[in-house]
């Protein structure tokens, strides 16, 4: 019987301050052996329980893509015990990783379809994983147009700035970034994600929308997608209920009869319509 509670030790090789407010760091963790890496086969949208020994564990989505071998990346906001301890860790320190957990974005179902990825704030992590996965040369041909709409309050809060700059130049992806209000030196759009989506989203025909962000953004983006003609079966979301075990046992992450950790975190809007709104 495989023990799902045991963490895999990993080495922190980079603790990078991602945003100007310094509240989000991106952590690069290295597997200690090839065997360890094989024991962690993951897909975009999955998450892991990351632990700081002595402090505890908390769930975080993988920001890296399985197409990037050798390491895992997590972008983590400093909000409590585990995240703060992680922020203070030094390169070379050991952490524990338990997973991969949860389901993933339906990369097979998306084949032959256009995909519009809509992300707000620091919820962009697993969306970055998905975009990176689809952009991989051996996968890119499987998908139609890929559009990414990504917004933050101000430019300093956007994650993965270097990568965004590269995507700007990449003909295989159509990137639209937006900030809430104008600042000097910003060449992207200004405006909230729902209205930008309304302006720039591709036709809903043969297209899936994948949406992650804070509750208000989700709330106002949904009617826009509906107006654009996206059926609920082709709107995909990822939930972030509080979790502990990640394996459907500790009882805290349920929405109706579904456990977000085990049956999610990725759901279609059609699936969520069947459940009570407790998320």
């Amino acid at each position: 019987m495989k023990n799902p509670y045991l963490p895999l030790p990993m080495k922190l090789v980079k603790n990078f301050t991602e945003t100007e407010d310094k509240l989000i760091h991106t952590f690069t963790l290295q597997f200690l052996s090839e065997e360890d890496e094989k024991s962690f086969p993951y897909m975009p949208g999955q998450f892991a329980e990351l632990c700081v020994f002595g402090k505890g564990e908390a769930p975080f989505g993988m920001a890296s893509s399985p197409t990037e071998p050798g390491f895992l990346k997590f972008s983590i906001a400093k909000v409590g015990v585990v995240s703060t301890a992680l922020h203070m860790m030094e390169e070379g320190n050991m952490v524990g990783v338990r997973g991969p957990l949860g389901n993933y974005y339906p990369v097979d179902e998306l084949k032959g379809k256009n995909v519009v990825i809509i992300g707000g704030g620091f919820a962009f992590t697993t969306l970055r994983s998905l975009a990176t996965y689809m952009l991989q040369p051996e996968h890119r041909g499987d998908y139609g147009d890929i559009t990414v709409i990504y917004g933050a309050r101000n430019p300093g809060l956007l994650l993965y700035k270097e990568e965004l700059a590269a995507w700007e130049q990449n003909p295989n992806i159509n990137l639209v970034t937006t900030i809430d209000s104008a600042v000097d030196g910003w060449n992207g759009r200004v405006g909230f994600i729902p209205s930008v989506t309304e302006e720039v989203a591709p036709s809903s025909e043969n297209t899936y929308a994948i949406v992650c962000g804070p509750p208000v953004m989700i709330k106002f983006t949904m009617p826009v997608l509906e107006k654009l003609g996206f059926p609920d079966e082709r709107i995909i979301m990822s939930l972030e209920n509080r979790m502990k075990c990640g394996i459907g046992m500790c009882g805290r992450c349920n929405v109706g009869g579904k456990y977000v950790c085990k049956d999610g975190p990725v759901f279609t809007k059609a699936q969520l319509n069947e459940l009570p709104g407790e998320y």
Partner: protein, 339 residues
Amino acid sequence: MIISKKDIPGFLDKLISEYQVFAPVQEGSFTLFKPISSGTNADLTAANTKLPAKEIFFPQSEKLFSYNATEEGVKVEEVLDEQKKVIFGVRPCDARSLVLLDNVFDNDKFQDPYYLTKRANTIMIGIGCNTPLSTCFCTSVNGSPFDTKGLDLLLVDIGDAYVVEVVSDKGKSLAEQAGLAAATDADKAAAAKIKETATITCQVNTDGLKEKLDTNFYWPIWDRIHEKCLGCGACTYLCPTCHCFDIVDDAKDCNGCRVRNWDSCAFPIFTLHGSGHNPRTSNKERYRQRIMHKFKYFVDNFNEIACVGCGRCINNCPVNLDIRAVLEDVRGSEARLDS
């Protein structure tokens, strides 16, 4: 088979030499399942123990593994309890609760080795309930005072002796090893008579309850039904089918262990997100969750009600919020309040 009551201590003593034996014992004003070192310690007169037998398989606090983490690496040592156990004197409702919990700890994707190892290594010897309490309602939730689900042997109290019913192969070989005598026809008849006459006086009508819960999530019933509840969590901690837990570290420097502790859906921080958002903001949502989980979600997922009718939550709620009345109320709920 049959065993005379005066032979019970000797029977238990023999088991103690081979197994870790748990039986109800008196501790202050409580009866609790404890490992016993002598057969005379078992107290078989009490009805239900204060805490359910669940505690043996899923303790209130349980060490999962210990670790030593340094710059060079991390040594993790799993802590698994593989000791062979016998639970003696468990009531049918508690035994059945474990069958329900098996669904959770051995789910469609993951197995919990701590719980499942203990389950696999344990023999369950139950005692039927000749005189159920006034708060017992097992027959309303698919149980009965002589139910054998989850048991290996069932004892039926016929006065001076227990008639022993073999339920499983494990139970059979234990009874044979103990050299129990065969029951006479008269003993068997006495046991059958007892089973017939033991009555559960308390019935909770659950007809249509599930159908109601399928539709009434947003109905006004939930605005009022939780009002008395203090959110103390006593009902969840004492319930044999509740399984919520938290996982924490207990550490000093680089040495420590990871521990899981019982938790409760009655507490506000149980579902509090890191962002400060909480999907269950008040007692209303939390109390609704308790009822929905037991009588709808568990049924949707596993086809069983997650309540065995033990009555512990009724006997121990500080404000007498009685689940039987709550269920009746829910069953009669309407989409709109009559004005």
